[in-house]
Homo-oligomer: 190 residues x 2
Amino acid sequence: MRERRAYHHGDLRRTLLAAAVTAINESGPAALSLRDLARRAGVSHAAPAHHFGDKSGLLTALATEGFELLGAALADARERTGDLLEVGVAYVRFAVDHRAHFEVMFRPDLYDADDPALRAARDRSGEGLSLGVATLPADRVGGDALPAQIAAWSIVHGFATLWLGGALPPEVGTDPETAVRAMARFLFTP
Amino acid sequence: MRERRAYHHGDLRRTLLAAAVTAINESGPAALSLRDLARRAGVSHAAPAHHFGDKSGLLTALATEGFELLGAALADARERTGDLLEVGVAYVRFAVDHRAHFEVMFRPDLYDADDPALRAARDRSGEGLSLGVATLPADRVGGDALPAQIAAWSIVHGFATLWLGGALPPEVGTDPETAVRAMARFLFTP
DNA sequence: CCTTCTAACTTGTCGCTGACAAGATTGCCT
DNA sequence: AGGCAATCTTGTCAGCGACAAGTTAGAAGG
């Protein structure tokens, strides 16, 4: 069972997605190659096409997996703490811990953004943040909750993107969680 | 002078950068091809290499141009209004109006982030936002201005990224400037 | 006017990649 | 035991980035 078989790898789909995560962590999503993934998995160069159709199919699956993981992480933080700040911290932690997924998820030119499974996972992950905003006192949010949701999403998403891109100055430090907490206090605070 | 010459195009470097903007606006940076740019400019497939070395060289030049444009836009907004909110609006407007540049600038895996000209332009553009934060009353910022700068940068950068990625819900509307103003009031407001 | 030199551009080629077509193998189901 | 569908392989093609070597335009200097 542990031996490499010529046929019927058994879990090739999952293996390829894991290899994609490794490859993207090494060299970014732009340098990703299906043939390299096949080599890493020890299968022929055309094997990935059977499971994902084409390159964008693989990235669609990876993005879907990412949105599911993000949705679970946000829901967990909200249920555990009931605090919007902690949901935001979980958002940034997800981006840092699942860098490869995150770097694909918000790059819709790389995958098929109309895929039904992806849309469902994406919508579900969005609930995590909007439910988190619902924990805020109503007088801080105002009549319409949408701008507050966008503000919360924007600040943590922007921080995560800048952090991953290495755009932030070194004075920010090496721990993203500390930096997020120091920054997010300017939002929704009287 | 207007005729296409076989040799000595005259302004090929600028022509190729403009073609890259068009191509990225059409299909995103991932699909960019040097040979396609050469075809658009009416030159041979190897002509781009002479001006930019390789693909990452071209994207480095494009990113540098983008940081220069962004720096100018932010400085202009700050000098015109002296208001941090307007600087933030200018940031988002730059991202929307110069989508191709913006999509490359914050993707350092696509270019050479250590290029001296790029670093200089990047640092200069960063001043625009930090000087904008300096217009805030000191009691809203606190002793250390850095977290406030990161907060301001994050919220506008996150909004711009989400907007360009089509990740925001349709209820946000079609005008990014209106949406930014509705959102940014949650930052630095008592 | 003529030579010479250099930057700008072309042609040719290589290995790699994604996509597709057609064939081989395997395990499941009856 | 036999069929069958899913899984994976081999073979092939055009497009791409990078490199090497050759060609041309135009400027610089006598």
